[in-house]
């Protein structure tokens, strides 16, 4: 149809159709289709740990030739290497390993904490959780071990953190 020849009623309908189409697109895609993130009867364990591994090497005692000539701020007797060991975390669900990672220390001089952040989807229900950590650079065995029974209802978001003061895993 030539552009100037569309009669008034058709024009009106055409405009209505264009507005309607835009309204439908806006109305629909502004909240559909839904995005389903988690299978039914599933819970999530969120591992969120920031923990500094133990320092590599022993602290040494310093000898001063003439302590009076040393600036007061430089008179520390202990000299500790700043570098830390990396941290290994392992999580077992009902005896099965669901997470295991060795995370190096952060920071340019490897003196910062090791960070873990992980989402682990698990079936809902009762589970035994074994949480283990090694932060001393040892080759075998763990420095911290905790076992806990948990009841996870569907869609529960369970956080595992490591509490440095109590030197153990904590479930929230």
């Amino acid at each position: 149809m030539s552009r100037s020849l569309m009669p008034g009623a058709m024009k009106f309908l055409g405009q209505g159709a264009a507005y309607l189409a835009l309204a439908v697109v806006l109305g629909y895609f502004s909240n559909s289709p839904a995005y389903i993130r988690l299978a039914p009867d599933t819970a999530v364990i969120k591992l969120s740990i920031s923990h500094g591994g133990q320092h590599k090497g022993e602290c040494g005692t310093r000898q001063f030739a003439n302590i009076k000539e040393t600036r007061t701020t430089r008179r520390a007797l202990q000299l500790c290497p700043r570098e830390r060991h990396s941290v290994l975390v392992e999580i077992f669900l009902d005896g099965e390993r669901v997470f295991s990672r060795e995370q190096p220390p952060s920071g340019l001089s490897s003196d910062g904490p090791s960070y873990f952040y992980e989402r682990i989807a698990v079936p809902a229900g009762r589970h035994r959780l074994d949480m283990r950590m090694r932060d001393s650079g040892r080759v075998e065995g763990f420095d911290y071990e905790t076992t806990q029974e948990v009841e996870l209802e569907p869609a529960r978001n369970l956080a595992i953190v490591f509490s440095t003061p109590s030197a153990n895993f904590v479930i929230k």
């Binding site: 149809m1 055409g14 502004s30 839904a34 995005y35 988690l38 978001n157």
Partner: protein, 531 residues
Amino acid sequence: MNGSASPPQPHPHPLRRAAQNGLMQVEGWFDSAFGPKLNPLTQLGALGYFYFWIVAATGIYLYIVFETSINGVYDSIEYLTVEQWYLGGIMRSLHRYASDALVITMMLHLLREFVLDRYRSVRWFSWFSGIPILWLAFASGINGYWLVWDQLAQYIAVATFEWMDWLPLFGEPIANNFLTRGSLGDRFFSLLVFLHIALPLFLLFAMWIHLLRISRPRVNPPLALAAGTFAMLFLLALYKPALSHPPADLGMVVERVSLDWFYLGFYPLIEIWSAGWVWLLLVGTSTVLSILPWAPPFKRSSPAVVDAANCNGCTRCFEDCPYGAVVMGPRDDGRPFPSIALVSADLCTACGICVGSCPASTPFRTSTQLVTGIDLPQFTLDKLRKDVDQALARLKGESKVVIFGCDHGNDIGKLASPDVAVFSLPCIAMLPPAFMDYVLTRGHADGIMLAGCRENECFHRLGVEWTELRIGGKRDPYLRDRVPRDRIATAWLAPSEPGELAGRLKAFRDNLMAMKISAAKDGEKEHSHVS
């Protein structure tokens, strides 16, 4: 007969040409329904501004009435939505739908400017400044969804931080702040509210920067289009009010979210691919978009040049240039005029519109060399006059027609014949009205056809409009009254409509013939009367 034309322009890539034809087809449908003046596809930028203002106005209302604390916000928005549906609820829905419409409009606008090739070389600025607009618009919208503090907000908050944590910026993962119930404080929430004011303000600032190099940008849609658009949003707000998800609970995982796909469409990718890939996708796309204006093929024409001796500082070229490439500056040649036109080479697209504006651009001058006030070095007015003179001398037939076309409109070369001469110009508005006068009143041709881009689709934005106004005697330089308007036909058509153009030409020539016959009859009558 094919009169020579401006230096040949590289043709668009076949893919781009195909996309242009498709776009013109769709825009043709919209033209049929809305008419060229109200066609929403030709004013996407203006519609973008319109949606922004709706979002801003409704946002101010929502900001005044909603409670900006992490524990109070959800209930206060529920109150607006349910109890105060007739005001707060409608405001909320308008706020959401206008924001979504802004995304659609912005994306179509980007696509259209790309397809029409309006972003290259000296026109890079608007394109390049559009990239931050994209980021700011998305950031504003995503930020807005946080403020409801429902399950959708929770999902976005956690996903955003997990996404951010991929960047080596923060030591401790910031997503750690969202671990457990009650771990989010009012301080943080106030920051979000502050951002939701700051980001849209930055967006507005970027939208202003975006237009700095465009003279006379269209920032307001015509009233009828604005009214129709607003009515559509309003009805949609009544029919399908914007609702919240259940309140956020950090102790539970959000299993299922009804996403706003316009703003949050890429969020699932953060989980499905990974944070790194999504960064790569977004940063990569932005980078590619940013360098597009400088991608081959390079077509850079030399900028317009002013001839001081022929410029009297009348400011017409300054008024007409669509790119703000002409400025008026002080003169130092001692002539008694206040100013002189100066061209900024890095803004000039060599469209030639200024040549058409200049009062010195008159072919009636007898000098052998036609020098005007402002001219294109690659395609001078002098060359155009010589070519036209030559072609006119060779034209023969009963209805001799000269077609002036434009390099971005229809390919008029095919219409050349012994009684039709064709000249393609960089833009139809390069043709000074005095040239139309020259061609017709010297009796060389029976009619002139001006073939340019479709109305509101002019590649150089203002060419068709200026030409219409000049012929209509509404804008300097006017076409003189003595020029018979029925001997000038205009055909504002897309390059995809060669058939329509040929049809218009035939109708025009039939009309010219009819005029000739009736004039001859009148002459005979007069003759017999006298005898």
